[in-house]
Symmetry: C2
Subunit: 190 residues, 2 copies
Amino acid sequence: METLKEKILKDGYIIEPNILKVDQFINHQIDVELFIEIGQAFKSHFANQPITKILTVEASGIAVASLTSLAFGNIPVVFAKKATSAITAGKMYQASVHSFTKNQDYQMIVDQRFITKDDCVLIVDDFLANGQASLGLVSIVEQAGATLAGVGIVIEKGFQTGRELLEEKGIDVHSLAIIESFEEGRIVFK
Amino acid sequence: METLKEKILKDGYIIEPNILKVDQFINHQIDVELFIEIGQAFKSHFANQPITKILTVEASGIAVASLTSLAFGNIPVVFAKKATSAITAGKMYQASVHSFTKNQDYQMIVDQRFITKDDCVLIVDDFLANGQASLGLVSIVEQAGATLAGVGIVIEKGFQTGRELLEEKGIDVHSLAIIESFEEGRIVFK
């Protein structure tokens, strides 16, 4: 998606060797116009799938999912909640996820009422790096017995293993911008 | 807003004496159609203000803000992040907020680049109860020297002190559904 790549080059910046900051338009301030286009790009790719729900995880995924829904006829969004320990109240799907960013595990939780075997689910998120959050969401779709349409990602770090882990499971991963490397502080797209 | 009140009566439910659960359509699963209408209702009320940014706090406020932006011409959304301790890196507005729900304090943080004195800010959130989160967001707007257009709330618990605390500061608080009381497990709107 060209608009997105131009925006990343213009307003993104790199801190430490491998961390891309896009807080000006993706995960702190949100460029709503851009996010509507992002939703349309996901719709173009997943047009042939009878998607009924969009699934993501709090917090920054919520904006991606909410505005992606518009291109899919305003279908419901479900966001997984993060908890530090397993939840025993109510009927919940749960997946244990390791966050490399924070170097800690958390529980990803979705109420069983909101994803069922009749759903065809599109997972979306702002970033794909090592794939742990996406795999947690995939596990929830599997626990529900729902159909997984695929995974839509805004920015993929192509030099990490997330895509490989998802594709090994036969999942269609569609990323709108794939970063191949950071060379001397410069962003190189695939 | 009648559609919202009907939805609350149909799909909301009460746990413990005073907790209204609306996770089926507001803060776990999101009814996107309803949220677009919510944005339009905020626009009707705040139509005369030259609003440039919508401010909320993670996580469930993000969906409200993102879909409210549509009625305001897709203006940028900024969501405050929650941290357990003060942030010393970068230039940040910070407000200390007490959460009665979790009975703990947190820091609400917004990068100074994203709200400036030239902005006219609409604060939105899913709930108003004791007003602590809204007051934190108001403090951030004040720190920025920006103009505050007002506070737009989806569901207000009218029997708690949030509105009073905000109105004491001369703030226009617009809630789309105000709950007056829970009587024997029944929701009574104002």
